[in-house]
């Protein structure tokens, strides 16, 4: 069976403390429920959740949607945003976890990566080093999401062309965003069969696509 591996890299730095992290938890849980009712997703989707603040944590290792259980994501009250370290962790995981096809092995679909942040990288140099490595891995799509007025769109834009901006990290906006993420995942599931790259569905009005 071909798996569709999807990596979520989530910002849990100090600024997310309080209402934003609660909103993120709710939105993620809503997204998982939506995906559970999609026939294709239930069959092929594997999800990994990684958070970054001062430390990088693998909250849920790459797990089949059928067996997936979302724990509550918590964040410290203060601390830096080590986005670069987060990317580095994702790179290592993709290299070891995603299966390439051969005459004796069925390969995975190209993996998807969603990066969610409400600030800018504290380890900017390391972050920039890792961007090229991310680009060299054959992701079906990398989507950057900048939430709130502190998030830096331009720095995220260096990582990927697909950057969206959320005006705030409140519950309603995040819900809309993750609904769109699940639509993107469902799309990725279908069109990749022909070897084309993933076309992102049009985002809802709460989300601004950064051009």
């Amino acid at each position: 069976m071909r798996r569709l591996p999807v990596y979520f890299l989530l910002d849990t730095s100090g600024s997310m403390y309080g209402e934003p992290i609660q909103a993120l938890n709710n939105a993620l849980s809503g997204m998982i429920n939506t995906l559970r009712s999609d026939a294709q997703a239930l069959d092929s989707l594997w999800i990994s959740i990684i958070t970054f603040d001062r430390e990088v944590k693998e909250i849920v290792p790459l797990t089949e949607l059928v067996n997936f259980q979302l724990p509550e994501i918590i964040c410290p009250q203060s601390g830096p945003t080590n986005t670069g370290a987060g990317l580095d962790f994702v790179i290592q995981k993709v290299k070891t976890e995603v299966i390439k096809g051969s005459s004796t092995q069925k390969g995975d679909w190209k993996p998807l990566l969603f990066v969610f942040t409400d600030g800018k990288p504290s380890d900017i140099q390391f972050y920039r080093q890792k961007i090229q490595e991310i680009k060299n891995l054959s992701f079906g799509a990398v989507v950057g999401c900048a939430a709130g007025h502190m998030a830096n769109d331009d720095i995220l834009k260096e990582l990927t062309d697909n950057v969206v901006h959320l005006d705030s990290a409140d519950s309603a906006t995040l819900k809309q965003f993750f609904k769109w993420v699940s639509e993107t995942i469902e799309q990725g599931n279908k069109s990749q069969g022909t070897g084309e790259s993933v076309t992102l569905p049009p985002p809802p009005s709460e989300i601004t696509v950064v051009i």
Partner: protein, 469 residues
């Protein structure tokens, strides 16, 4: 007496009251007083009770906040999870009940500590655990803890089965299954629309055709898989199959085959370089023309309907078989990712008659509609020839069968995989669906069609399977 003395002394000290040496005998008298003795007893009893109560409360709270995770379930799929009381450190639970399992299809076996059954509803089930721990009074209300059990919907129930448009000019029946004679053997073919197509009301894109060619003694079987990305591939696959039949009906005459019959007889008696060469030459000549004819027929149709040839992309495999006194001759051609397998009489050998066009990425293959395949250096390797005394099965299939049942290319050359495959066909599968390959079984086509509904996660393409036996 000593106990009362110790207690009161400590109590007075705690309140910073010293007993002067002159009042020691008064104190002795004080502690001997029955009222005081009783009071100390009551106080100590109450303190002990308070302590016990506190311990109980914290223990209950510990259990309440303890993270208990149980594996997810899926509707209609057998579920069993153990609530291991030892591992959970729940040995002090003396009364235990589970509520909220009504109408879920699950039961809790208290003796085995297992939650099991076949889930009937999906969602986040809130299961109530009612419990009492050691030390709580027997008439106390049970404590209540909620456990979330995630039940996935049955993936099968999520797939829609939308009818395809009967008025479409290229409409094709969603499911077909036929059986008949093929030379002195039997043939059964079933072709089914995949769930991914049914889910959106799209058409079946696979096709097949078989026929005895005139009075020549040759019979032909063709299978084609229309490309998922091509808009009119269902028509492409149909034209491809019909075209090769038309070609051989027009070009295979007794006259034209006389020399080849003689060559085969010679080859059977004593195969040498010359006979092999002659055979190769004949196979290449006749089959390549048929393949080319198929390509041209589709091209003509595309031009006539004023649309691009690429809209008709389809793979094509076909096999010509004839029975001679000295055995069966098999000629094959293939482009795309559909295999042709020949199993010997004893089921000890598999001959894969063609190689598969598989790309680096999922879905990447080649089609009969691609003019470049005819110019490629590898074109001459697309043909197969085999002369055998007899065989048990000749199998042609599309990737809708090959992907779930053989998974990877390498397995197509393993006899044990083919034996597994036929074991599966003959009933060794979770649905217990059986195809009876004995001659005279008039139900064989329906049986194959039913078997082909097998469930395989992630494999929802059209399925076509043709077996000569």
């Amino acid at each position: 007496m000593e106990e009362t003395k110790r207690y009161l002394k400590a109590f007075l000290t705690q309140n910073k009251i010293e007993i002067p040496s002159g009042k020691l005998s008064l104190f002795d008298e004080f502690i001997a007083n029955e009222n005081n003795v009783n009071s100390v007893k009551i106080i100590q009893e109450n303190q002990r009770m308070i302590m016990e109560n506190w311990k109980l409360k914290t223990r209950i709270d510990d259990i309440m906040i303890q993270a208990v995770s149980i594996p997810n379930g899926t509707v209609n799929k057998k579920y069993e999870a153990k609530l291991d009381f030892t591992k959970l450190n729940w040995q002090d639970i003396v009364a235990f009940e589970i509520k909220g399992l009504e109408n879920t299809g699950l039961q809790f076996d208290a003796k085995e500590e297992t939650l099991s059954g076949t889930p009937e509803i999906s969602g986040d089930l809130k299961i109530k655990i009612l419990f009492r721990i050691e030390g709580e009074p027997e008439d106390a209300a049970l404590n209540e803890k909620t456990l979330t059990l995630i039940i996935n919907p049955d993936p099968k129930s999520l797939w829609k089965n939308l009818e395809s448009d009967k008025n479409d000019p290229f409409y094709k029946e969603d499911n077909v299954a036929v059986s008949g004679k093929f030379l002195d053997k039997n043939i059964v073919v079933a072709s089914k629309r995949g769930r991914s197509h049914a889910n959106t009301g799209a058409f079946r894109e696979d096709d097949f055709a078989f026929k005895n060619i005139n009075q020549t003694g040759w019979s032909l079987l063709a299978v084609s898989d229309g490309a998922g990305s091509a808009r009119l591939s269902r028509k492409g696959s149909k034209i491809a199959c019909d075209a090769v039949i038309q070609y051989f009906e027009e070009n295979f005459t007794e006259e034209s085959l006389k020399e080849f019959d003689e060559t085969l007889l010679l080859h059977h008696k004593q195969s040498d370089e010359s006979s092999s060469k002659k055979i190769s030459h004949f196979v290449y000549n006749s089959l390549s023309k048929a393949a080319h004819f198929a390509n041209k027929q589709i091209e003509e149709f595309a031009i006539k309907s004023e649309t691009e040839l690429a809209n008709f992309h389809a793979t094509l495999i076909f096999a010509l078989v004839k029975k001679y006194d000295f055995g069966y001759a098999l000629l094959t051609f293939g482009v795309g990712d559909c295999p042709i397998g020949l199993l010997n009489k004893e089921l000890t050998e598999i001959k894969l008659m063609n190689w598969l066009d598989v790309g680096d990425f999922g879905g990447g293959t080649r089609f009969i509609t691609m003019p470049e395949i005819f110019q490629s250096d590898k074109f001459s390797t697309r043909f197969g020839f085999k002369l055998v005394d007899d065989f048990s099965y000749l199998v042609l299939m599309t990737d809708g069968i090959y992907d779930p049942k053989f998974v990877v290319e390498a397995n197509l050359e393993k006899i044990e995989k083919w034996n597994e495959f036929f074991g599966d066909l003959q009933g060794n599968n979770e649905d217990g669906h059986k195809v009876d390959f004995s001659t005279g079984n008039t139900e064989v086509a329906n049986q194959l069609s039913t078997w082909m509904d097998f469930w395989s996660p992630g494999n929802h393409d059209d399925r076509t399977l043709a077996i000569i036996y």
